[in-house]
Symmetry: C2
Subunit: 673 residues, 2 copies
């Protein structure tokens, strides 16, 4: 519905409303300049605003039954011409033109005080973003991410790498409101979505965006589904991925194969072997690191194609690793450099970036030939040797002062770089005829990553229990991805980051047995279970560090496998219809304070999971929404309420709905020994 008179504009879709009047202008425009300092993928961004002018005046230029063209302007001469396209459940605002020299844009959305806001991509600390000002910039997630954690300060000390509550690999200029509407801003420029004001939300975009979309749903879940469909759904996961865990191992054939044999013997359900060091490794002060030359290392993995076949015959797929860089020592770098496929500095030299400890070059995705070239590298060197998937790492490091092949401003391409990286990988899979068989997983992303990447993982968590960067944070990450329309996510079981060298003892955190086991329990109730040895494998507890751990992990892998029909169904419901998989409770039930309950989730509509995310917790207080619930492990019946649930290792609080059509599956999973 649109109402326009001389003085005001009012657009209404369900309970969503946009308005414009002199003292509540819909838009402001301006001019500004940012300064970006990058340290190892972490950014310090200084913003300078030269002007910020509300566009208080407007004039309807033309009108059809479905659209209005309206000129917004200030008396000082700033203009913004927009087309509003209105349907039953969506409003598109296209920016048709604007006065020159504007590069900052604000849109104001009326807000209510008790409104809840979700999304903005992958958020690790807060689920409800009401009261927050959320920067949207692709970057490292940060180590610690909280100034009250001493490790954050150590990460900041030398590398400015400590991050903050909002630093993320995967921001997305979308959000969902508890007023049952979603918003999508079509821009890859640096942005800030400001939900901290009482009466309005202010979306700040550091360019004039092409388009802003709003859509409404009949319920919150319907809104999320519409958003998911709007930004695009990926292909279903391959069938094999549900058959157990993907084991992250490394160290060469002679290390890896015996570990697999031992694990199989102990009953671990293994569906994949993920060898990130398939292309060789190097030891640095940061840990065991990879070679970054995307050719298999014959000394570590002699006859890797043969080994891959052997494993395949045992029902185990092999996965590799690639990222957006090329190590300067490698053959691929030499070739790419000669052909001019690498990102450059403004003096014409190649831009070499120190990611952790050594410099590397970045492939220029704006160069169509470079894209084809890296696609062929993946096709022949990875798919060609039989790999069924890979981690497609990084995507956050495009420097803002880089010079790109097609002339695009790097500042405006930075946030898009991981999306193009996903698209390249997706094209490889498609062109190689491996859709539905090969899976690649990414951490970095932005708008439209959802439809290209086959799977996401939550990045490099600390190997601890911290809210902002440990086990609890991957739950918030999964939920915020869901609320951003993205369904397929998982994490490194046990976390990744240990700061072990050159730091005092009080900072060293090593993955404990308990953490590994609790993390595995949580991962059991996600679409994909995958381990990572971490950056210092020898310092951290592994799945086979002792018999008890291996037995526990084997049992959890069997529970996960027992849930295969249910999980597969959930994945298909998402990839076909956009239905969320890992959900906050309020997508199905009336819940008063979602933020307080954010470490509990629904895994599909029929499982409620309340993972243990604190050390030493034998009993956990669990909120069960108003329904009839069966405790997965004991079969005990519960109705809605708050309960103290016993949670010995191996038995996290999980409940299924009594009325579920998957009851038999759940009974089987709950009875696994």
């Amino acid at each position: 519905m649109i109402e326009i008179n001389d003085k005001s504009i009012r657009l209404k879709l369900g309970s969503f409303e946009l308005m414009h009047k002199k003292d509540f202008p819909m838009f402001a425009v301006g001019y500004g300049e940012n300064t970006y300092e990058m340290s190892h993928g972490n950014f310090n961004i200084s913003k300078y605003y030269k002007i910020k002018i509300p566009l208080r005046e407007f004039k309807v230029i033309s009108k059809t039954s479905e659209s209005y063209e309206i000129l917004f302007y200030s008396h000082s001469g700033e203009e913004l011409k927009c087309r509003f396209n209105i349907s039953m459940d969506a409003l598109n605002i296209e920016i048709l033109s604007h006065s020159e020299q504007l590069n900052r844009f604000w849109i104001y959305i009326p807000a209510s005080e008790n409104e809840e806001i979700y999304g903005c991509g992958e958020q690790y600390s807060y689920l409800n973003l009401r009261s927050k000002r959320v920067p949207l910039w692709v970057s490292e997630q940060g180590v610690g991410r909280n100034k009250r954690e001493i490790i954050t300060h150590f990460a900041n000390f030398k590398d400015d790498a400590g991050g903050d509550w909002y630093t993320t690999y995967f921001p997305q200029p979308t959000f969902v409101s508890s007023k049952n509407y979603y918003a999508i801003v079509h821009s890859y420029a640096y942005s800030e979505f400001d939900f901290s004001h009482r009466d309005f939300h202010e979306l700040e975009i550091h360019e004039i965006p092409q388009k802003i979309e709003f859509g409404v749903g009949e319920s919150l879940i319907d809104t999320v589904i519409k958003l998911s469909k709007n930004i695009g759904l990926p292909n279903p996961l391959p069938e094999w991925i549900y058959n157990g865990v993907i084991l992250g191992l490394q160290g060469g054939r002679d290390v890896v194969m015996p570990k697999i044999m031992n694990a199989l013997e102990k009953g671990l359900k293994i569906t994949g072997l993920w060898i990130q060091d398939w292309e060789g490794k190097r030891i640095t002060t940061f840990g065991k690191q990879l070679m970054w030359n995307w050719v298999y290392d014959e000394s570590m993995y002699p006859d890797l194609p043969g080994m891959i076949n052997q494993l395949k015959s045992m029902g185990i797929r092999t996965l590799g690793y690639i990222n957006t860089f090329l190590a300067l020592e490698g053959s691929l770098y030499k070739e790419a450099s000669q052909k001019g496929y690498l990102v450059k500095k403004n003096n014409g030299e190649e831009y070499h970036v120190v990611v952790t400890t050594f410099p590397a070059a970045l492939v220029d995705f704006t160069n169509p030939e470079a894209r084809e070239w890296i696609k062929n590298v993946i096709k022949s060197n990875m798919i060609g040797i039989g790999l069924s998937g890979w981690m497609a790492d990084f995507g956050e490091y495009l420097p803002t002062d880089a010079v790109l092949y097609d002339g695009t401003q790097a500042e405006l391409y930075h946030n898009r770089y991981p999306v193009e990286w996903a698209k390249i990988n997706a094209e490889v899979v498609q062109e190689a005829g491996k859709k539905g068989e090969v899976v690649f997983f990414m951490r970095a992303g932005n708008l439209y990553s959802a439809k290209y990447s086959t799977l996401f993982w939550h990045g490099d968590q600390l190997v601890n229990w911290s809210r902002d960067d440990g086990l609890p944070s991957v739950i918030v990450a999964a939920l915020s991805m869901t609320m951003s329309g993205i369904g397929l996510t998982h994490s490194d079981i046990g976390g990744y980051t240990t700061l072990a060298k050159n730091v005092p003892d009080i900072v060293v955190t090593k993955r404990t047995k308990e953490l590994f086991m609790r993390w595995a329990e949580q991962a059991t109730f996600t679409p994909v279970m995958r381990t990572h040895e971490g950056n210092w494998p020898d310092e951290n507890w592994q799945f086979d560090s002792d018999e008890e751990t291996l037995e526990h992990f084997a049992r959890m892998s069997k529970v996960h496998y027992a849930l295969k029909p249910y999980i597969k169904h959930l994945v298909e419901e998402y990839t076909c219809k956009g239905k969320p998989i890992i959900m906050p409770l309020n997508l199905k039930y009336k819940v008063d304070n979602v933020e307080e309950l954010k470490y509990q989730y629904l895994f599909g509509e029929d499982l409620l999971v309340a993972p243990v995310v604190e050390s030493g917790q034998n009993v956990k207080k669990v909120f069960l929404p108003d329904d009839e619930w069966i405790h997965l492990w004991s079969g005990k019946k519960y109705s809605g309420g708050i309960y103290e649930i016993e949670t010995p290792i191996g038995y996290p609080p999980v409940f299924y709905r009594l009325s579920s059509r998957w009851k038999d599956i759940f009974e089987k999973a709950g009875g696994v020994e």
Copy 2:
């Protein structure tokens, strides 16, 4: 000179120029809101700008031979009416009125690329502020003040107390340009002076200020002198202050008196005993702290008036301590609380602030009765018992959400609070008839503190050699104060802050013997020498920790005393005529890179001091400007150039001008044994 035509305004005074045209408007106005978080006097300030509109249009309203009234406006309706008063060497811009609902103000000043900018109050890290954006907010100076120093992170960890290069007790909305002009913005609102743009300086004020002044000088030193006179000159220091060092001791009569006797015996020239614990003490996790109830402690200092008299007869003055707080346990707090003299919260309760470890109440300086009351406390309890001076500590802690007696917004009074604290102390001295006899020294300040406070000290440095917070930083602090028109500064010899408890060994910094001695050497060539035992006296090296230190310190006290006629002359030249005392070399000589040479200074026109500010330095590279110089200790003659000067302990590089009329004094000082 003012040129006005239809399209532009040009104001020119010497090499200073202001201009206005459509594409370079002189002013912008706007509306914004800040969020202030205070932790122990450290502030985290979030700025939100709702609008920022350049005022591109103007209209001359009236004109006389000396002034113009001009209306600046935007077509969107924002207006600012200014009166420009122009004389030969000054330009005043008075803001006569402005449209409602504006609370942000910007003025643009054309800049040149190689221009240098000095001042902004007390700056510890950078002298030349060109390329910096300088926030002006009274706060703790911070511990470490540099993210590359691990101690900064420890200070941040629990208390957000690490600071940054710009955090300061004493910001001042004034600056001096190498184009020989100064600027004074008459506002105590939060401000940012932005010198980072190539073509303009942008001064941002978080209110509409009353007045902005510009003045030009014939030279840089003439400009500084004019600024000094403009903001006000204090009274000369008391005669007694030149007679040696002020010893900072504590622990009660029985501790203090023997230390003095011992020091006198070793030849230390003592002119003052500063007992900060005259009002009692407490032991906390931060260290030995004071009682903050401004009554002398009879148990620690029985018959303090008698002791003061006794010391006076020996030529030693006694100094005490006071600050803006009242400890909740004290009798004075009870009285002030009953009378309603304390700063309140918006719920009507008293605002109790935790400064370090215990809560305390703040005296409300907007209440005339409270002012009289605290003045009488000082008069009777401090001057009344014979004290010749005191540290007037703090002034940075007025919370922005406090409620003040006279209704002033605390956000706009925060920066003014230390100025009123200085004024109160100045009135006490005046009304007690003790002008030129009593000295009080402050660290916090702002515009007009200069004329009220008798002396400043640089605050709480770390007991180390760090550039941003150790010995070197007090030199930059003194020079930036000079460039802000403030001449009378000194520091705690040896620094103050040790983080000794609850931190890992790598963070603990203790004052070493070498640091104490080098700091004493630097202090010798400042107006006042004063020691402080630091927050953890027992952990740190003191003036009498061994014989060698005491002998070295005694010798430096004699050198300082030998310089008395010269120093007294410098102080009088400042207090009467505004002539700077501690000067960067470019106030007298042509110097290419002042920033590189900022740890050398002129002490008056005839002494060049290049203190040793690094550990283990036996030889120091010294730049001597083009002149004829005599090495103070050896009498060796030097002409302009760069020299490697030997710097054994006790003999920092100091030179005097061959042609100085104070040659005899310098010879005597150089020959002290």
